[in-house]
Assembly symmetry: C2
Homo-oligomer: 634 residues x 2
């Protein structure tokens, strides 16, 4: 029997001082509860997403110094924690000092584990290098170390032996990705067990929330514990960390799996926890602990939880206490308003309605109703006057050729006027109001708009944060209903807003009262864009056209059956639509995303740093052209 | 004697169709010139910087198909080229299909090299994973393959043997970083030579221009050729490639080094070239070729060349033929105007002067003079009216609390008015003018401003491209003089603009006529910020303060001696200044850069994707606090 404390702390990236203080407090508490071991998450001292801060030697030394404080606190309790480990005598592949993403085991004031390993710590074996992760950029892996030392990886995957209260214990130390070894040639857990046997596996993680992640993690980790017949303790942090363009929530959900792979402890999501557990190291008494079944983390409830937690934490990080929201009477700004009102209190949310001649009374009334329902601050700032003045000023300013004195003037087209309105709202009104109000203004874009750049730069794409930009339009509606039904438990978002045709109302061609609106047909395009972005192998027009030809498109995309034929009576129309959006996704969409605000990630592929992209323009494969020709000439 | 053609082509990233066509043309030409071998750059078919396009299976198949066309063209000429190689039966670490960054050797219609290697191509051994590079994200390395196969890397580093005109030849194939092995434990060139001996080393590269890169490359590669006593052919592409936030120029400068390490061929920079060379494979006749000494690539001439080439190519890529430039009468917009006028012709450059009450007659006159000198299009669009109207409108719009009916109004402070002006210029005037004119508007920010976010979001930080944002202010001045002296050979940028104090002119506190201006003191801060950004080990306030204490600061930073004592009479003032800018660099500066336009990279660390950063706020190390205390209490 072993008394273990899972320290599911909030980690503040780049703040070793604050993190160390928090850890010392947890250690004290665990000690008071007679815990024999306390386990902290991966990179608990420095944080994980720090960009190139790892290239600052002073920062590395600082992390080492704080690490010493933790080690010094281990007199009577074993402390397992994550930190950066530096070998000042070696270099990384880039020539900079050697750095490891490491797991430290400290006891009785010193580090353990260098009896059977070159260092008194353990090194991450598998380094994630997809999505937002870039461990390989900064940290030397155990695989490279093995090659350098002329050893096999399996020789290096040694447990850490510790003696607590006369109990000798073999610890198998894993760092996050080490537990997700399915696709790797190396299986750390198996090798450790062979070099053991291991009495207890510990996986210290810094693992962001993604829809469906915990479901998968529990399947995999449970199977691992069972297969090696040893308990496995997973400790994950909470908090948010970002890579500039993309912000991630860390959900905690630290877990204890027993020998049989059953879950016997499950810490709450997005909350700090110090969970002390009595762990049986032999099979005998396993039956006495009851097993738990965690919630499905794909539910709209968990998505809301992640978004609310992430947004609140981000506001806190950058010190924003009040927000300004451009309120159009449409669904996106309504959901945004309801979200922020919940987080900050309605008295700190200022909704601004900015009508032009194109905005219907319908949406203006709905915007007012929303504000009323939420009880926020509200103001109306019409933009037509300045828009007209701008058109006037730009049309009337003579442009003189300085070489020959020739004069010309500009003609302002209806399309240009659409964008003038959008920029006037965000860059003139909202920015000014936010600055004067001591607030930030939000970006309310959804993922479908983001995908194809259906937005105006310095207009509705502006803002300090895009809390909803990883949600497809159908998820925005789901969230609207959830906010009404479950969070507010009343209709704060008027049902009419949910029922209304989505429209930018930038011209009379987008009149909601006539049922006109966005060119994006969400029930189909949401799923088409999802195939471009979120399918495991990213889908391109070639895949889509092939599925279309084979008659399996709706099934493959997951959209409603029969929809495609209704929307596109002819193949030509289907192809035109496909090419139009693909060109925007890989063209203007990229250009706009480069200058978009940070996006809160919830999906398995969010825009920003999660999805790497170049401004290279569109491309259609050789095979696409063949299929197209075949289809059009049948 | 061997006749080799170096095909220094422009590679269009993401366009296998265009690249293959270009390659086939080159192959024809080389054949006509009786070349026996033609060598293309790394990733010549797909391009190199493609973001996550590598996750599209259809794109991979497409590249394979185009590769087949190249192989088919090798009947009577040996073709060495770069392409993505896919092993459809294996996976990468992320579980996606196995991809290699590979070098193919094709001859007589088939691929060579699988007699002593698992594949009929060679794999990149060393994968750069710093700055803008992220090979490890997508490509499986030879090091990982060696582990997977249970072999040593040296066993896998085998030459490709080819028989041309009864001449048996051992080719040592290297891919870019394989030649930059100084910091790696593995030295591909040495291993290849041991498994050879190799008659000819070929390094196919896709290597972006960076100040000083070619100087270093020639030193290293020359030493390598000499040490293995074999000729080395380096083939690099031209063109531009980007990672969204950062745009890179590829400079070509393909080179032939002989056995002694002398340079015997040097292709031009930033120009396409098909250079045929007669290479002696034995030492005997080496003396007959004359050796070359390339230009210093750190000169302002090369920097200008890279910026002009990069900007022109970027305009071409996104289809912009005309630009609009906000012309303040200051140095940054003047350099921008002179640059674009050179690239596009002055008749396609529209300078817009946008005075408010704070803009002096001095700068307005200088702006007009600049336009006159360049012979561009010019217009004046004052902003004061709309700025006043905006202040009026925001101040007069009642904000109503929807819960209790309480009313408040906003107070617009002078600081808020500064930003209202900046946004009015870019988001209202320039954006509108550019859209109506069928142009893009430029971002004229320099690197010093970028570093500390001395700019307004949706204001002067807006624009489609930031051509000058990797240049410190002192380099902007250097470029101004170079444009006058060497490019235009007359004073197009008025000397008064060069002599004027830099100022944003957003308030009377920034009056240029009174010699007031920016808070950034460029002769010192340029170098301080450079230490944060470009020093090999990134410098932090701890380093700076330590150098200050030791009296070596100016020497370490490279700024003028005596400057620091003049600027900061007391330690307290020095520290306040240091902390102020550090907080901005790691705070608001990051927030602004997230939404900044793409930056053209020339330095060894540009903003955007080259410098990874998180919006984490500022941090001072434990040691910094100690030094600070020591200094202030001495």
């Amino acid at each position: 029997m072993l008394k273990i404390a899972l320290a599911q702390i909030e980690i503040i990236p780049g703040r070793p001082d604050i993190n160390t203080r928090a850890m010392l407090t947890q250690i004290d508490q665990a000690r008071q509860q007679q815990s024999q071991i306390i386990i902290f998450p991966e990179m608990s001292i420095p944080g994980y997403f720090l960009g190139d801060t790892w290239e600052q030697l002073t920062f590395l030394k600082d992390c080492e110094a704080y690490g010493q404080q933790i080690i010094a606190a281990s007199s009577d309790i074993c402390i397992i924690f994550g930190n950066i480990a530096v070998d000042w005598n070696k270099v990384n592949d880039d020539g900079r000092i050697r750095k490891y993403n490491a797991c430290f085991v400290a006891y009785q004031g010193r580090l353990l584990g260098n009896d059977n390993f070159p260092y008194p710590f353990r090194i991450k074996t598998l380094q994630p290098n997809y999505r937002e992760f870039e461990d390989t950029r900064h940290f030397y892996s155990l695989r490279k170390l093995a090659i350098e030392l002329g050893l096999t990886i399996n020789q290096l995957l040694q447990p850490v032996t510790i003696k607590i209260d006369n109990q000798k214990l073999n610890l198998g130390c894993l760092l996050c990705e080490d537990g997700w070894s399915d696709d790797y040639a190396v299986k750390p857990i198996t090798a450790l067990q062979q070099n053991g046997p291991v009495d207890l596996f510990v996986n210290i993680s810094s693992s962001p929330y993604t829809i469906g992640k915990n479901n998968k993690r529990n399947r995999i980790f449970s199977a691992q514990a069972k297969s090696v017949n040893a308990p496995l303790v997973y400790v994950n942090n909470i908090g948010i960390q970002n890579n500039g363009k993309t912000v991630y929530t860390f959900d905690g959900c630290s877990t204890v799996y027993n020998h049989k792979g059953d879950i016997i402890e499950y810490c709450p999501s997005f909350s700090p926890a110090l969970t002390c557990t009595d762990l049986h190291l032999t099979m005998d008494n396993v039956t006495c602990s009851s097993t738990l079944i965690p919630n499905d983390d794909r539910s709209i409830r968990t998505i809301f939880q992640s978004i609310a937690y992430g947004t609140k934490s981000f506001l806190n990080l950058i010190g924003i206490k009040k927000v300004v929201i451009g309120s159009s009477g449409g669904i996106d700004s309504a959901v945004s308003a309801a979200l922020y009102a919940k987080i900050l209190g309605p008295e700190n949310v200022l909704l601004v309605n900015m009508p032009s001649i194109f905005n219907s009374k319908t949406t203006q009334d709905l915007s007012a109703k929303l504000a009323k329902n939420l009880g926020c601050l509200y103001t109306i700032i019409p933009i037509q006057q300045v828009v007209d003045d701008t058109i006037q000023q730009l049309s009337n300013s003579p442009i003189i050729n300085q070489k020959n004195g020739e004069k010309q003037t500009l003609v302002i087209s209806p399309f240009v006027i659409e964008n003038i309105q959008a920029r006037d709202r965000s860059s003139r009104v909202l920015s000014g109001v936010a600055a004067a109000f001591g607030a930030g203004f939000t970006c309310n874009a959804n993922k479908s708009e983001m995908t194809v750049g259906y937005s105006t730069l310095y207009g509705d794409l502006g803002g300090f944060f895009a809390a909803l930009s990883d949600l497809w339009k159908y998820q925005i509606y789901e969230l609207a209903r959830f906010l009404n039904d479950e969070i507010y438990k009343k209709e704060v978002i008027p049902q009419e807003i949910i029922d209304l045709v989505p429209s930018a109302e930038l011209s009379f061609d987008q009149s909601v009262d006539e049922g006109k609106g966005d060119p994006i047909i969400y029930p189909y395009h949401d799923y088409l864009f999802k195939a471009f972005m979120e399918h495991w192998n990213r889908r391109t027009p070639e895949d889509i056209l092939l599925w279309y030809e084979e008659g399996v498109l709706e099934e493959k995309l997951g959209c409603q059956s029969g929809l495609v034929a209704t929307l596109f009576p002819t193949t030509q129309e289907f192809i035109s639509d496909l090419e139009r959006w693909w060109k925007l996704y890989t063209g203007m969409g990229v250009a706009k995303r480069i200058q978009a605000p940070p996006v809160l990630a919830i999906s398995r592929r969010a825009y920003g740093f999660d999805h790497r992209e170049a401004q290279n323009g569109f491309y259609f494969t050789m095979n696409y052209q063949l299929i197209k020709e075949r289809l059009l000439h049948e």
